[in-house]
């Protein structure tokens, strides 16, 4: 895996690779080079399987991070490429022509994160949700608890304890000193 990255790093811009295991590595790449890297890895280096395509919402940085995880079954290697996108009006590049399965992931990202992938098949259709009009629910500025409280009725009588304060009360009733 390291040797593969050494081979590629002269031609592409890589961030610092994070090795979670010897056969699993995460590396950040530039958006403009993503397609070239993915094509080369697929056709030359034997990374034939797209394991997953997912997103992380870095709301503080105003960015979305796309993770393209690809797998080389012959050599048992997994490489994850990270791409950062602007959160404002987020648009990614479709890779459905490299891996047809990516179209499904891209439909999901479009619905759950609101990241658009122009040109991807059926990307504007509903994927799981029916008649959803609110913010995409996986975005971090969408508060799922507040939404559910405003939409569905609670049954009275349900009591919830914050585990920390509850256990502190049960186990250490007189902490801090004189609290009791």
């Amino acid at each position: 895996m390291r040797e593969l990255l050494y081979r590629l790093k002269d031609r592409y811009h890589f961030g610092t690779p994070t090795f979670q295991r010897d056969d699993l590595c995460f590396v950040t790449v530039k958006r403009s080079e993503l397609r070239a890297i993915l094509t080369e890895l697929r056709d030359v280096e034997g990374f034939t399987h797209l394991t997953l395509l997912t997103a992380v919402d870095w709301i503080e940085e105003q960015q979305f991070q796309l993770t393209y995880m690809i797998n080389n079954r012959e050599a048992n290697l997994t490489l994850a490429l990270r791409v950062m996108l602007d959160r404002e009006d987020a648009t990614g590049d479709t890779i459905h022509d490299l891996w047809p399965t990516a179209a499904t992931y891209q439909r999901e990202l479009r619905e759950m994160f609101g990241i658009n992938f122009p040109g991807s098949p059926r990307v504007d259709e509903e994927f799981i949700l029916e008649g959803w009009t609110d913010l995409p629910p996986y975005r971090r500025d969408f508060d799922t608890l507040a939404y559910s409280q405003q939409t569905y009725h609670d049954r009275p009588g349900r009591e919830t304890h914050d585990p920390k304060t509850h256990m502190q009360k049960v186990l250490y009733a007189d902490y801090p000193k004189g609290a009791k």
Binding site: D134, L145, A146, Y147, Y152
Partner: protein, 229 residues
């Protein structure tokens, strides 16, 4: 609640009716122009009626005894409770000895078991299935998800109280209830029916407007008639 964002407000936008369901003018193959309204043309508009009781109490009691011995369940599994129902069909638990069996279509069933959490999308199908069942019919809610939301208490797409949307005759608590608990629940339901207290379907007919309002408040793309005969 500590974690709630006070400033978050959900948007209440209307979802437009799907194009193929809108009333419009079409041209028939022989050149005639007709107006169609798909949601009204193909469905009966009558509202559900209260099922009348028999003329004397002893006859009604006899009916109820007979009903309680024929609980036919619609094989419609939602959530994880559908898995707990499967062992009941095996020789180990053998629910069939109590006159309980599973049917593939709502037209042949009189008991709807909501076996776990209902997402809004599934709720629409559950309502359709329930309304197509012939009266007298009963609803059982399984597990804490149907009672107060259970572990989906903060989910954006899962209802919390089943009895807002369907008339529930009996709840079985647990997460999930074991097949033994289900069997016990069936026995309880039989007693409720024999006492003549399983009036869920009549409650649904009486409070029809209220139930519909609750259902339409969460199911935004309502693409079916108000009552599915």
């Amino acid at each position: 609640m500590e974690d709630v964002d006070d400033k978050f407000l959900k948007k209440n936008k209307e979802v437009p009716l799907r194009e193929e369901l809108r009333p419009r003018k079409v041209t028939t193959p022989d050149g005639q122009e007709i107006e169609i309204e798909p949601l009204r043309d193909y469905f009966c508009e009558a509202q559900p009626k209260v099922h009348p009781k028999a003329y004397s109490k002893i006859v009604e009691d006899f009916y109820n005894w007979a009903r309680s011995n024929s609980l036919w369940i619609l094989g419609f599994g939602t959530g994880c409770g559908a898995i707990e129902m499967r062992p009941l069909m095996t020789p180990r638990f053998d629910a069939y000895r109590y006159g309980i069996q599973w049917r593939p279509t709502p037209r042949q069933a009189n008991l709807l078991v909501i076996s776990g959490y209902l997402s809004v999308k599934t709720l629409k199908r559950a309502i359709r299935a329930y309304e197509q069942m012939p009266q007298p019919k009963y609803v059982m809610g399984l597990g804490s998800c149907t009672i107060n939301g259970g572990m989906y208490w903060d989910s954006y797409n899962t209802i919390k109280r089943l009895d807002d949307y369907l008339p529930v005759d009996l709840y079985i608590a647990g997460c999930m209830p074991r097949p033994e608990a289900l069997l016990h629940g069936f026995m309880e339901l039989k007693q409720i029916i024999r006492k003549g207290e399983a009036e869920g379907a009549n409650k649904y007919a009486e409070n029809f407007a209220q139930y519909k309002a609750n259902q339409k408040a969460v199911i935004k793309d309502w693409d079916m008639p108000d009552y599915n005969w």
